[in-house]
């Protein structure tokens, strides 16, 4: 069991999402960063769709009331155990009864996952364990401060970390976000595409599980629009008459009435959802065929991701505590002291 002391901005249970329910007006929900979510389960030897706690913006604190292996994944940085052991994100750790876990906010991204070996004991709602923010049908799947959550089959394994080459290659912000344009845009609006792709946009702080608003130079191409409500999907890029794009995320409505430009490839959203407010981006068009090829390769590369065992040392040096993670081949994964959050790797 874990007792929650602080949830941060929003913490909720998520899995891949709820499917087959859009005809009832229920959107998919599910994890924002699918790769970090799958990694958290890999590190805990869980099924890859086992429900985890998704933590938006960090600031999460909880006390474990029994021994278990837990993993924390997401943007590169540290989490702490009992306020003094600092462990690198994308590691699993064996926690003992009464250990306190803290995941601080982090400059490299927004979304973290906490998995436990054997999973959490939860009630399934409409075929999924994902919290859906805009309705009150899944309230039990929202994490609440002061409440405790039970484990299903608590288990203890060897502590593991992953080298983050995969994450560096695919998920680090390179300032480019791919988009699959809708057919009417590709066929009739080349001028719009030229202007859209040469505009610098910034992610705003209007960020929720429903969508992200962008800031930048207003685009008046579709100022007069009279769209009837139609399908939207995870990643849909809408351009309202205001001229600033909105990108719909997992908890968005199932239908929308603004002009649609296209959609961000589903797996590109792992990178996109980690962009801090104020991150500069440009869009780059990608055909559906090339998009499918690229992201199929990404999924295959993730299947090959390697996990390694490590040893954790907690040293007392000159009166200060230093946390060191060392891998099986004696290379240092991370060193951290109480003053500075620094990562060294060789």
């Amino acid at each position: 069991m874990i007792t929650i002391i602080n949830t941060g901005t929003l913490s909720s249970f998520q899995d891949f999402g709820r499917f087959g329910k859009k005809k009832y007006g229920v959107s998919n929900s599910g994890c924002l960063d699918k790769f970090s979510f799958m990694l958290s389960n890999l590190l805990c030897k869980n099924d890859k769709n086992e429900a985890s706690i998704e933590i938006i913006s960090g600031g999460f604190k909880g006390v474990f009331l029994e021994d278990i292996t837990a993993s924390i994944t997401g943007p590169d940085g540290f989490f702490t155990v009992n306020d003094n052991k600092k462990i690198r994100i994308n590691s699993s750790i064996n926690l003992k009864k009464n250990d306190t876990l803290f995941i601080p906010p982090n400059n490299n991204g927004n979304v973290f996952y906490l998995s436990v070996s054997g999973g959490f004991k939860l009630q399934e709602i409409l075929g999924s364990y994902s919290y859906h923010q805009p309705s009150d049908i899944t309230n039990d799947l929202k994490i609440i401060s002061g409440l405790s959550y039970h484990f299903k089959n608590p288990d203890v394994h060897k502590e593991k970390f992953t080298n983050d080459e995969f994450f560096k290659k695919y998920l680090n912000n390179d300032g480019i976000i791919y988009i699959n344009y809708d057919r009417d845009i590709l066929e009739s609006h080349q001028k719009f595409i030229n202007k859209f792709e040469s505009t610098d946009y910034c992610t705003s702080n209007q960020y929720s599980r429903q969508g992200i608003k962008l800031t930048g130079k207003k685009n008046n191409f579709f100022k007069n629009q009279n769209e009837i409500s139609s399908e939207v999907s995870l990643g849909t890029l809408q351009l309202p008459p205001s001229g600033l794009p909105i990108i719909l995320l997992n908890d968005s409505q199932t239908t929308g009435g603004y002009k649609k430009i296209g959609s961000i490839p589903k797996l590109e959203l792992s990178k996109f959802s980690q962009l801090k407010p104020g991150s500069k981006i440009r869009f780059n068009g990608l055909s559906i065929k090339n998009s499918n090829l690229f992201f199929n390769k990404m999924v295959k590369d993730f299947e090959l991701i390697s996990l390694n065992n490590y040893c954790f040392y907690h040293l007392n040096v000159n009166g200060g505590l230093i946390s060191v993670q060392i891998s099986g081949n004696n290379s240092i994964i991370s060193i951290a002291n109480n003053e500075v959050f620094n990562v060294f790797k060789e």
Partner: protein, 220 residues
């Protein structure tokens, strides 16, 4: 021959479009093919969601399990093998929604009556005399997009949306009428309230109103 158009929205959504705008015949065609496609492919592992909009059938799929062009071929074949037979379609079902109109249940009815020049009773009578088409569900779980509002009682949205409208509220916005399944902020003119629970996760299916059917409001 059925006229339709297949396009893609993003890397994992296929859209079969049967016409433009909001039109009952087009929406009948949409529901005819939704029923066929559900029978033929809903259990395939690559299908994630099949749902209707006003004029399209939308299919979300997993592109890791099927190539987009293959799915398009499969869909084209199913459509060509199934000629539309609207008469056999079970779409004449009418669901009745009991409504308490006006007063505390419909705080905007009085203002509408003043502006439109109808008595409150007349507005209620016009609103509850019509049969409304449920074109699709969306916006929020169980929310019906209804067609068929009498033009004489269409009314613009509130200039200042309310921060919270209670679940069960029946409203009018422009030439649309609808029911809020959950409490939500909104700019619709609220004319009444129903005590029917439109969405219940403990029921199967969870939605009280089904798309492709009809609905009638009955004054309490």
């Amino acid at each position: 021959m059925q006229i339709y158009n297949i396009s893609f929205h993003g890397d994992s959504t296929l859209v079969i479009n049967f016409g433009k705008g909001i039109d009952e015949n087009t929406n009948n065609t949409v529901h005819f093919y939704i029923n066929i496609l559900e029978k033929k492919i809903i259990n395939k592992p690559f299908i994630l969601d099949i749902y209707p909009t006003y004029n399209s059938v939308v299919i979300d799929y997993d592109f890791n399990l099927i190539e987009s062009f293959m799915l398009k071929i499969i869909i084209k074949r199913i459509i060509s093998e199934n000629k539309i037979e609207l008469n056999n379609n079970n779409n004449n079902k009418i669901i009745e929604i009991p409504v308490s109109y006006g007063g505390e249940f419909g705080p905007d009815l009085l203002q509408m009556s003043k502006s439109l020049g109808f008595s409150e009773k007349e507005i209620i009578s016009i609103h509850s005399s019509k049969k409304y088409r449920v074109h699709m569900l969306g916006f929020m779980p169980g929310f019906p997009y209804l067609g068929g509002l009498d033009k004489s009682i269409s009314f613009p949205r509130l200039t200042e949306p309310r921060t919270s409208i209670p679940a069960g509220s029946v409203g009018i916005a422009g030439n649309q009428t609808g029911i809020y399944p959950f409490s939500s902020p909104g700019g619709w003119n609220i004319i009444g309230m129903t005590n029917i629970k439109l969405f219940d996760i403990n029921k199967s299916p969870p939605n009280f109103i089904e798309s492709g059917t009809y609905l009638r409001f009955v004054a309490n």
